[in-house]
């Protein structure tokens, strides 16, 4: 019978207490009854003696039996005395005649008149005790009574009522059961409390723990902290769970390792029962080789794997393997799911496990090695499959075509653009190369042409009829000069001598060396060069070209008059130290619409007719600065002027570039 432990314990203990209480209660009642009965009997005895004494004294004084009756009637009136009777024996009857109401009427009185004392308890309607005492003839009695000394004269019967004790016993009984019931309730409550708190809740925890572990939650811990034996049990449980967890993890790892070894093997591995031939385990390679899935394998026998013509040989071999307890290499054929035969080399081994013998067969596919016809068939089938697959893919592709076409057109457009840029770049490069090659050769004769032209112009004077023609020669010569110089600069030297140099000195050299070219006489030049700036690493000639170009632009912007400020300082940009050169003019400024074009090659604001520029100056400047790992930018305010800023990486004291 399934019964909760707490109920069961309560039931048992309750029964014991209940029984004990019953016995005790019963004993209690009996004890009190006997006690009162005995007390009543003693009382009756003493009363009997008193009655007898009284009668005796009355008789000695010569009293008559009528006096005796009177005395008895008086005594009867005392509370608690139910009855007092005088019984006459045979001697009295013989002497005084029989008196009806004083003859013995029952067994006790009969016995008493024969000489023995009798006691009786009446549990009838009224609870009472009765004592019957014989009265013997004494010496002094013989004066009146005609009887021998020691003969029984009669008897005295006294009945004492115990009825008034009944109430006492009842109250006592009630009190007893009341107290016993209380004790019973308290005991039960204490048991329930203890069992619940100390026994059942830890047990519940243990049950949950056991269930968790059964579910596989091996990290579960019951953690009972009751401070008693249950805590010990809990600790033992947790330690068991911990150990179980470790063991299972170890086992899992091992199992995983083995499964991996098995499943990752390139050869097919099949394990089967040596007696029944039922397949018990296969690896992935086996599924792949045969085309059967694992569940299919599990429902098959190893015999199904071989074509009928191979089976006879196979049975002989298998018998031998089992007999020798080991396998051998041999070549055979197995049958795939699609009935294609695959030549394999089998390496078998015999494994005993759990009292049964298993055979492990490892099949190595020999198709490739042998190039069997079966293989050909297999490949043909695969090929057919692939053709179908591809055909389907091709059909799908047609739908994608439209999309691809658009993308292709886009890409083509971009490509065309790139090609254009590329061609331009290539043109520029070859132009530069060519220019570099012929420039010097052209320069000298050009210088001669210009020199002589100017000479003739000066000699003839403006009045000369040839002056205008000579001027045209001069202009054409100047244009040629500028084209050559710009082209040359644009074809940057491939190798440069670079060394640490002082930017201030470079600027000063530029100003002094090219004083004639700069024609800066009419401009005011402010030089703000602070002491102790770091040096930079670079090519002095190229850097001079940079400053020259910027200064020339500034000069042109100011149209010959204004203030040119050249300022150097140390600047920090993104954690690097730079020497910053600012070249500020008070010219007309650069219009917004061309601000993003001024570094473009062949961009110029100066008229071709002026013949001084083909628009390579700032483009060259930018590429030189870039080659020096620096940068160049500018800010310009229309009507107020322009500031060009050139950043060049500062050298550290140890000679490395500032980082």
């Amino acid at each position: 019978m399934k019964l909760k432990l707490s109920y069961r314990i309560n039931l048992y203990i309750g029964c014991i207490i209940f029984l004990g209480m019953g016995i005790m209660g019963y004993h209690h009642v009996i004890f009190y009854s006997r006690f009162f009965e005995n007390a009543g009997i003693e009382e009756a005895k003493r009363l009997s003696e008193a009655v007898f004494d009284n009668l005796y004294a009355a008789m000695k004084l010569g009293g008559e039996s009528i006096d005796n009756r009177d005395t008895i009637e008086r005594l009867k009136k005392i509370e608690g005395i139910k009855d007092i009777r005088i019984i006459h024996g045979p001697q009295l009857d013989a002497q005084f005649g029989v008196e009806e109401d004083e003859s013995p009427v029952d067994k006790l009185e009969m016995a008493a008149v024969r000489g023995s004392s009798e006691v009786e308890v009446d549990n009838g309607e009224e609870w009472a005790v009765r004592f019957v005492m014989p009265v013997f003839i004494k010496e002094e009695c013989t004066g009146c009574h005609r009887a021998g000394v020691g003969d029984v004269a009669g008897a005295v019967s006294v009945t004492i009522s115990l009825e008034h004790y009944r109430g006492f016993i009842r109250v006592n009984k009630k009190l007893f059961f009341f107290l016993a019931g209380g004790m019973f309730l308290f005991t039960t409550a204490a048991i329930i409390f203890t069992v619940r708190g100390r026994l059942l809740s830890p047990l519940e925890k243990l049950r949950k723990g056991a269930e968790a572990i059964e579910r596989g939650d091996l990290g579960y811990r019951v953690e009972i902290l009751s401070g008693d034996e249950m805590e010990e049990v809990g600790k033992a449980f947790d330690s068991m769970a911990g150990r179980l967890n470790e063991t299972i993890i170890e086992f899992k790892n091992l199992n995983e390792k083995h499964s991996k070894l098995l499943s990752m093997a390139v050869d097919a591995i099949i394990v089967h029962d040596a007696q029944t031939g039922e397949i018990t385990d296969v690896n992935l390679a086996a599924e792949f080789l045969t085309g059967y899935t694992r569940p299919e394998f599990m429902a098959m026998k190893i015999d199904d794997m071989y074509p009928p013509e191979e089976l006879k040989e196979y049975y002989i071999l298998r018998k031998k393997w089992v007999q020798d307890g080991r396998g051998y290499f041999h070549e055979t054929c197995i049958k795939r799911k699609d009935s294609v035969l695959v030549p394999v080399e089998t390496a078998a081994s015999v494994v005993e496990f759990g009292g049964r013998i298993y055979l492990q067969e490892i099949w190595r596919d020999l198709t490739e090695r042998k190039g069997f016809a079966q293989a050909l068939k297999k490949y043909t089938q695969e090929l057919e499959g692939k053709v179908e697959e591809r055909t389907a893919a091709l059909e799908r592709s047609f739908s994608d075509m439209e999309r691809y076409k658009n993308e292709l057109e886009d890409a083509y457009g971009k490509l065309k653009e790139s090609q254009k840029t590329l061609v331009e770049t290539a043109k520029m490069a070859s132009l530069g190369e060519l220019g570099a090659g012929i420039a010097h050769e052209l320069n000298s004769p050009l210088a001669g042409i210009l020199a002589i032209t100017e000479l003739l112009m000066r000699r003839g004077g403006k009045a000369s009829e040839n002056y205008q023609l000579l001027e045209k020669i001069k202009d054409a010569g100047l244009r040629s000069k500028n084209i050559i110089s710009d082209l040359l600069l644009y074809a940057m030297p491939s190798r440069l001598e670079i060394s640490p140099l002082c930017v201030d000195d470079t600027i000063k050299s530029t100003l002094s060396l090219f004083i004639s070219e700069l024609k800066i006489k009419s401009m005011e030049i402010k030089e703000e060069f602070p002491q102790g700036l770091p040096r930079v690493y670079g090519n002095k000639g190229q850097l001079m070209e940079v400053f020259l170009n910027i200064i020339k632009n500034a000069r042109d912007a100011m149209k010959g008059s204004g203030t040119l400020t050249i300022r150097t300082s140390l600047a920090k940009e993104i954690g690097k130290d730079y020497v910053l050169v600012e070249i500020e003019d008070t010219g007309e400024g650069i219009p917004d619409e061309i601000k993003d074009k001024i570094f473009d090659p062949f961009f110029t604001t100066k008229e071709k007719g002026g013949g001084l520029n083909i628009g390579l100056g700032l483009s060259i400047t930018k590429s030189i600065v870039k080659a020096h790992k620096g940068k160049i930018d500018f800010t310009s305010t229309s009507g107020k002027g322009t500031v060009f800023r050139v950043f060049l990486p500062a050298l550290k004291e140890d000679g490395t570039e500032g980082r």
Binding site: N443, L446, A447, G448, E454, R459, S516, E545
Partner: protein, 127 residues
């Protein structure tokens, strides 16, 4: 036409391109200087050795003896002589120029081609 030379205003133009020499010398003579020209370094050294020039305009790149070597020779002969280098643009021109600067050779630098005015201004500055 032979021009009498005096110390103060005599100028030598050295350029392998004869037209440059003719033009420059003509411009300078018309401006009141006494100028002659030669077309190679060797002749230039001879000229300086024999005549009291005080200013030389010289091309940097010439066949045979180039500008730098010619300069060295000339300075050996006449220490106080001023030399103004002019040259066209060419690959690595700057590097050659600054080799000259390092040697203290170049007083001023004129890019070829040049204007008559530039030449006259420089000559006036030094003479």
């Amino acid at each position: 036409m032979l021009i009498e030379f005096s110390d103060e205003r005599s100028i030598l133009v050295v350029d392998d391109e004869e037209s440059v020499g003719i033009g420059m010398a003509g411009i300078l003579n018309d401006a009141g200087f006494k100028a002659r020209y030669v077309t190679d370094g060797k002749s230039a050294v001879e000229e300086v050795r024999n005549k009291p020039y005080s200013l030389v305009f010289m091309d940097m790149v010439m066949p045979g003896m180039d500008g730098l070597n010619t300069f060295r020779k000339i300075k050996e002969i006449k220490k106080g002589i001023k030399v103004v280098i002019f040259t066209g643009f060419f690959r690595d021109a700057q590097n050659i120029i600054f080799n000259g600067i390092k040697e203290g050779m170049i007083e001023e630098f004129v890019r070829k081609p040049f204007f008559a005015e530039e030449i006259i201004n420089i000559a006036r500055k030094y003479l």
